[in-house]
Symmetry: C2
Subunit: 340 residues, 2 copies
């Protein structure tokens, strides 16, 4: 059946590999009949892990790869040297079109470098941004770019705004997604040289819904759907989001445990609170796509459990069905043609 969406999964990457990636894959296969998975990694290890589950075996193929790229290995070197690693082999399957998407919880650096080198950028794309979804008061926003290529130019940011808009519209179903430019003030004349140069370019883009500058304070409120920034700033935002959230939640927990009275109260609020905090947990939203490549590359958290991996695979299905790669390439071709 040719309508399967084929995804190559690096089963050996991440803190809980291969157990959690395998479990996530099994769960996704059970839930989505159109999904086909190439599970890439050490065959004996993976087969032993798969034996734990019943799943639609006709839609899973184990692809042997003897090596593993560890977190912390210099990415470029690892990609060049470990040709028989699960990460490299799985990415090559996207390049060769055997698979339309790739998912890994492995080394961010290796996924970013490998995605660009082994899968390659679409024609017209200047830089491939890493674009995770971040939780907000009202839902999620796409934070673009959080990748490893810093010191971007304004033309990059304009492309990020366009790619992000396509993603939010067709993968997340947000009509006419609002695009905001991260800045230190709301006024057009504020900011550093990069954003000052980018602002008028975004204003002229007719194919996006640019709402102007957004201050970091307003990002968690969900004021825009696509949060455009340079990768250094995006990385700071993403990591601070996690850091402030984690510290604050541990403070709340400690506060609840501080007196006998509050301990009793904690027992009562716990179930309701757990549900609420789950909605502010980034892992609920799958991994981050590396956009602008010839195929979809998804980087899931290193600490991903089965649920995030399952969600990443589901995201791949929508992405492929909606032909986001094609839509992005089409849009990039029109580069600047949207302007007067």
């Amino acid at each position: 059946m040719s309508e399967y969406i084929k995804v190559a999964v690096d089963a050996m990457g991440g803190d809980y590999a291969p157990q959690e990636p395998v479990k996530g894959v099994v769960e996704a296969l059970r839930e989505k009949p159109e999904l086909y998975v190439y599970l890439v990694g050490q065959e004996d290890v993976l087969k032993k892990e798969l034996d734990k589950y019943t799943y639609p075996e006709e839609r899973l193929e184990v692809v042997h790869a003897s090596e593993i790229i560890e977190t912390g290995e210099p990415p470029v070197h690892a990609i060049q040297k470990k040709k028989d690693s699960s990460l490299v082999k799985a990415l090559r399957m996207v390049r060769s079109k055997e698979a339309s998407a790739f998912v890994s919880c492995g080394s961010t650096g290796a996924v970013l470098v490998g995605g660009q080198v082994l899968v390659g950028k679409s024609k017209g794309v200047e830089r491939a941004p890493l674009a995770p979804l971040i939780p907000t008061a009202t839902g999620v926003s796409l934070l673009i770019d959080c990748g490893a290529n810093v010191d971007a130019r304004s033309s990059h940011l304009v492309q990020f705004a366009r790619m992000g808009s396509i993603y939010m519209e067709y993968v997340m179903g947000v009509k006419n997604p609002k695009v905001g430019l991260v800045n230190i003030g709301a006024e057009e004349e504020k900011g550093n040289a990069l954003v000052k140069e980018t602002y008028p370019l975004l204003k002229e883009c007719k194919d996006i819904n640019f709402i102007g500058n957004v201050e970091a304070r307003d990002i968690p409120k969900g004021v825009c759907d696509v949060v455009v920034c340079e990768a250094f700033v995006g990385n700071v935002i993403l990591k601070l989001y996690e850091g402030v959230g984690a510290t604050l939640i541990s403070k709340v927990k400690a506060g609840m445990m501080s007196t006998l009275r509050s301990k009793i109260g904690a027992l009562l609020v716990k179930p309701a609170l757990k549900e609420t905090l789950k909605s502010f947990d980034a892992s609920e939203y799958g991994g981050a796509p590396l956009l602008g490549l010839k195929g979809l590359v998804v980087k899931a958290h290193g600490s991903s459990k089965a649920n995030e991996i399952k969600n990443s695979l589901i995201q791949c299905i929508t992405f492929s069905k909606e032909d986001i790669c094609g839509k992005i390439q089409e849009n990039m071709k029109q580069d600047n043609k949207g302007d007067n």
Copy 2:
């Protein structure tokens, strides 16, 4: 008595002026016998406000200023035009050494511009950074720079690290404060051009305790006492801190109110939780100093209540007693002499 610490307070700036600034001044005067305040603003308004309180009148002097600089006014223009504004008049008192410090909850832009233009930078200081204290899991860290002058050079960042270290050591009492450079990874070779250039310079500084790069995720954990970054990044960190905190707390509150069971629990945890969250509230730590000037300029939040203003005034006393301006100027003179 010449040992008074004299502070000029812009009583007309901020969302709750003049009520809260006046209340904060009164509370500080009652608590600190060495404090002397010039309360600058519209005399009739201030006197009426002061009539509400009993306080040591011999240590407060109302200085009349007829104009008010509003938030949102273009700073440079406002400073030049409104010469009889409370902000300009109070800053001039620092310039003329009538007062050793200045506190305002008014327009950030006007305070930053006014501080640099009217008070002036100390000799050797290339750029005056705005350095608020931010709450962490273990206490507070100084985030330097969050000011309005973006696109810094590496030599600026090195000066920020030094000034921040002096502040944390002598005002906050942290011995040998740990200095971290905000980056997107822990390794020396990571980052954008600016931080790559700054890292080796900080490593060579013998008068600071440089611990290397810090990722944004680790800032809330309190891994370092002085968090060095360029102003655009600092602004994003500061505002996102507030934004994520506010959104998360409102989520926690909503979660607690979602079921009858959790509502009862909420009543029980509330007192303990309030105490904990207070420790993560930036307003507890007074305003942000603008360092490297010939006198102390403190910018308090626009939404400051009396407590923050009182704390800002107390901060001014320590700052002046420890002669931080003198220490910074001394340190800047030795610029690069600490290196081999």
